[in-house]
């Protein structure tokens, strides 16, 4: 196990280096070079040279990259070309916090509802309920978020005027009863984004839970549990359930990746000031340093999540470790 962890950790900085360099090179290769964006309409060679030096854009691409990297590891991703006078870190981190809150709630809901759906389907195996549940979830997964959001907005925000059209107002809203008793409730701005985030995610979790539950039900130790006379409820809760949840650990990273990708559309379409919408705006306005920063941060999160998932799985399931050391 120790060697496994060390080897995985050894790869981490290398992957991050390659990812950041690839992103850096592509961003610099793009048109509308950052200097002309910064210099504006009047091009004075002296000013251009000055900006070039200020931004660390003189020298070849490796020198530029080195320069950028040393700053980046200290959390300095440069100044935003889009919003002058602000560093990218100042802009990004509050937005990441907004996205992280939404994403985490979505993740909890996806697993919290996806697992019961999967168990229901597995227990109803052989009846019409099983294919019906899975089929419905698959259909929900197939509706692109891009198609889903406008009708939702029209229905709930325009037609019935129940929910706000978009935006962000924190996690909680205060519900006053008689002007005296204040009860915190989830903010109404949350509902449509959470529906959009979670609907495509249920199918994957439910199906994995269903498959493993069906396999676990065939295991010898389940037959043993039944044979020694355990009531069906404790067979299901004590033996089938925990063992069915094992493989789910590996898909947390996948589920999160799905939510992060969904954030681009959900946040853009609903005007939520998160990192997804920020990246969309950065792409459309060619704010290269911002794109670079978000992509590298996303990559770091992905790599760490995958690593964490693999390590946790190694701890839970000893067969993984044995398989590794045998190679």
């Amino acid at each position: 196990m120790g060697a496994y962890v060390v080897r995985r950790l050894f790869w981490l900085p290398i992957i991050l280096l390659v990812v950041s360099f690839a992103t850096f090179a592509i961003a610099r290769f793009g048109p509308g070079d950052p200097i002309s964006v910064a210099a504006g309409q009047i091009r004075d060679d002296e000013i251009v040279a000055q900006i070039r030096a200020d931004r660390g854009l003189d020298g070849n691409i490796f020198e530029q990259y080195q320069d950028w990297l040393f700053k980046a590891v200290r959390g300095d991703f440069g100044e935003s070309f889009q919003q002058r006078g602000f560093t990218i870190s100042e802009i990004i981190f509050p937005k990441m916090w907004v996205s992280a809150q939404l994403g985490m709630i979505a993740l909890v809901i996806v697993f919290g509802l996806g697992i019961p759906f999967g168990l229901i389907a597995a227990r109803a195996n052989g009846t019409w309920i099983d294919p019906f549940v899975i089929g419905t979830l698959l259909f929900l997964q197939a509706i692109p978020v891009l198609v889903l959001i406008p009708p939702l907005l029209w229905l709930f925000a325009v037609q019935f005027d129940l929910l706000p059209v978009g935006g962000w107002d924190g996690l909680f809203d205060i519900w006053l009863i008689g002007g005296v008793i204040a009860i915190p409730i989830p903010d109404p701005h949350l509902y449509i984004p959470l529906v959009a985030f979670t609907l495509p995610g249920f199918a994957g979790i439910a199906r994995l839970t269903r498959i493993t539950a069906l396999e676990v039900q065939q295991e010898d130790y389940i037959r043993t549990a039944r044979a020694k006379g355990l009531p069906e409820s404790s067979v299901a809760l004590r033996h089938v359930l925990p063992n069915s949840l094992l493989p789910l650990v590996t898909v947390i990273a996948f589920a999160l990746a799905g939510i992060v990708e969904g954030a681009f559309f959900v946040e853009t379409l609903l005007g939520i000031p998160g990192i997804g919408r920020f990246t969309f705006q950065a792409v459309t306005s060619r704010d290269y340093d911002a794109i670079l920063a978000t992509t590298v941060i996303f990559a770091a999160i992905f790599v760490l999540m995958n690593l964490a998932a693999d390590l946790v799985y190694g701890v839970i399931d000893p067969r993984i470790r044995v398989g590794v050391s045998r190679q």
Partner: protein, 320 residues
């Protein structure tokens, strides 16, 4: 283990004289949902393939006197903001989906993914390590932002390059047909779509290469190329089919998303992504629901059919 199970079953029924593929097809044909999905995919892809013949109007033909019409007699599914016929636009969007999915799955998944997976699994050692580590890097890149970045950065240069080709050769109309944007979308998606296939194929090859028939081939002095293509490739062919069926849906989705962001297939070429973008917005949906619903329903049906067919195919290959 998938192909292995299928292989043993196949050889068992070989007495009757049917190939493994015939058996899988037989199983698949008994699944109603799979057949319906197959028909839906065939209809959407077929209307894309024959769009130039079937479409009632040209996809660029504007009629500014009749914008945003609803369902009607001469424009069956209505018109968009520029008065273009939505049915024709949808058919040409299906053509875009057809071109991009087939090209990307052929190159990224079938060609690159398979070859690298076979080589990595069979050769092992540093070659295996190199291929799989490159795969690790690709799979740890955040896909969507990278695709957007690549498309945004390379599009003008590739367009320039295609224009240059047009100037030097008798070819014309490449730039105006949006050929350059197809090329970038294709290249970028291929770059990211091989990793999954390579991993699955490698894992299967790792098991297969320890089997007796490979050892026999080796001891008879078969060349590496012959072993890989004649002995290992048939053993992973079912996995390849499964990868293709899942790949098609994923690639179709990615193209739509990229075009929605404005960095995919460029206008005037039609794409479901661009159509969806035009129809999004709650007020737009209230006033002209067909702008969103026409592409939205087609895309949902297509993606749902791919998912169902992939599932059924998986079951059929695994002997269910």
């Amino acid at each position: 283990m998938t192909a292995e199970a299928a292989t043993t079953e196949g050889s068992a029924s070989a007495v009757v004289g049917r190939s493994e593929w015939a058996i899988v097809w037989e199983r698949l044909r008994r699944k109603k949902l799979a057949m319906i999905s197959l028909v839906v995919i065939a209809v959407i892809y077929g209307s894309g393939l024959f769009a130039s013949v079937l479409a009632p109007y040209s996809y660029t033909e504007q009629n500014l006197d009749r914008p945003t019409e609803g369902i009607g007699a001469d424009h069956w599914l209505g018109t968009d903001r520029l008065g273009r016929d939505l049915l024709s636009r949808a058919m040409y969007s299906a053509r875009t989906t057809l071109i991009v999915t087939v090209a990307v799955v052929l190159s990224g998944s079938l060609l690159i993914g398979n070859t690298l997976g076979l080589i990595a699994g069979y050769r092992g050692g540093w070659i295996d390590n190199a291929i799989m580590r490159v795969g690790d890097i690709f799979s740890s890149l955040p896909g969507l932002p990278m695709l957007i970045l690549i498309n945004a950065a390379f599009a003008p240069r590739v367009t320039e390059w295609v224009r240059d080709i047009e100037d030097r050769t008798p070819l014309t109309g490449l730039v105006s047909s949006g050929f350059a944007s197809y090329l970038i979308v294709f290249a970028a998606l291929s770059l990211f779509s091989w990793v999954g296939t390579a991993r699955v194929i490698r894992a299967q090859v790792l098991q297969l290469r320890e089997r007796e028939f490979i050892m026999a081939a080796e001891s008879l002095g078969a060349s590496r190329r012959r072993i890989v293509f004649r002995h290992l490739l048939p053993g992973v062919s079912f996995l390849i089919i499964l990868q293709v069926s899942t790949g098609l849906g994923a690639v179709a989705g990615s193209e739509i998303v990229l075009s929605w962001f404005g960095v995919g297939v460029q206008p005037p070429a039609a794409s479901f992504g661009a159509m969806l973008f035009e129809g999004s917005g709650a007020r737009t949906f209230q006033a002209h629901p067909n702008l969103l619903l026409v592409p939205g329903i087609i895309v949902t049906l297509l993606l749902f059919s791919f998912a169902l067919l992939g599932d059924a195919l998986n079951d059929a290959v695994r002997g269910r």
